[in-house]
Symmetry: C2
Subunit: 223 residues, 2 copies
Amino acid sequence: MADIVRLGRQHLAVHGAAALSLRAVARDLGVVSSAVYRYVENRDELLTMLLVDAFNELGDRVDEAVAGAEEHDHRGRFMALGRAVRSWALGEPASYALLFGSPVPGYAAPAERTTGPGTRVVVSLVGILDAAARAGCLSGGHQDGHFPAALAADLAAIRAQFDLEMSQDLIARGLLVWSALFGAVSFEVFNQYGPDTFAAPGELFEHHLSVLGAVAGLEAADS
Amino acid sequence: MADIVRLGRQHLAVHGAAALSLRAVARDLGVVSSAVYRYVENRDELLTMLLVDAFNELGDRVDEAVAGAEEHDHRGRFMALGRAVRSWALGEPASYALLFGSPVPGYAAPAERTTGPGTRVVVSLVGILDAAARAGCLSGGHQDGHFPAALAADLAAIRAQFDLEMSQDLIARGLLVWSALFGAVSFEVFNQYGPDTFAAPGELFEHHLSVLGAVAGLEAADS
DNA sequence: ATCTATAGAGAGCACTGCTCTTGACTTATG
DNA sequence: CATAAGTCAAGAGCAGTGCTCTCTATAGAT
């Protein structure tokens, strides 16, 4: 019953994740509450459906945005990815909160159904960075070194898992940029900067993205 | 009734923010549910109490850590701040989620009671950065410029509000570092890196902190 | 025509936040 | 000392929640 997911998304957007009520969507569906249990195992399963739905929507937006940039403009692709994440998050704050905010109490996302869609953004990001590295467009730290042993092992494992060309240093920077990107988006979506601090949050984000690109090793195109 | 806050914190830590139940803390208090309404207006007011409590605990930890570092070792103070945030967050994930995760549905923190404690960390951070700037220890971007007008105005307003010496460029970088720090912590606390990705999350964080210090303009001390 | 699968209704259990009324106990006051 | 005021907690009750169970109506297949 696709209607259930549709109405669930609507409720999610209006009332937030933890207030998602099966009875309420049943009401909106014009049906008694017990009836929806024919189609949905659980409140948690509905939450999982909405979770993978949101993950895929975000992934689609990011893929579109990245594909819309020049293939060899690695920095442009990175900026497009960042902007896509931000604009989706601002447009769907409740879904964003479900994906990247505090975990819903008593709910654990089933890894086997969510890890695939849940990693699309980071897969896209490492794809961009590794392509830049292979093209020789990633500045800084071209060799491994000076990492503590355990961290070096973790980074090596990641490099092996994604079959990357990048040095450990660049992988570590990529991880920082990844978390920093979502940190910046979360601050904006969750209003962590304080009320009415910025008249132009988009411009601040653009600045952040630019600096993060440099941190990742993507040089600013000389304009 | 300090016991209510104490038991509330305990429930928060065990069951999470959105599952905080007045009836449950009343049960643990050995009292009927209506009785706690003598001392607490609301479920939301209990949440607010826990919120400012957590903000202050985090602020205390950060202040202690920063005070424990050499006054003129600006980079050391920054690293101490970051480590304090991370260790508190990992120790009190539910409180951290309440402060920096998705907003609790139907709950809006009363600004007049939370903005004070809620800004202690960022006040400490800008204090560190501005002290470094005044001491001439902040590298990069010593003059304003090349910002869009609206963003430049926002940054100028921040500089005026906190009476800062730093250039607009350094303020913008400080904001990025601020949000990136919490992004990195959130990724770790909320398990966003994926399950079992890192055997040594602390070392990765240490790396991130080091890079973020450089982004803010704090040069690594030559060792 | 009968049999079966399916969709939904309805009642019910245990839980939640919250309100209102009632009663007991303590303290201050005339 | 007796009475009035104030404080604390209990209990009932309302509306909402997730979830389970049993029952019924209907459409399609045999």
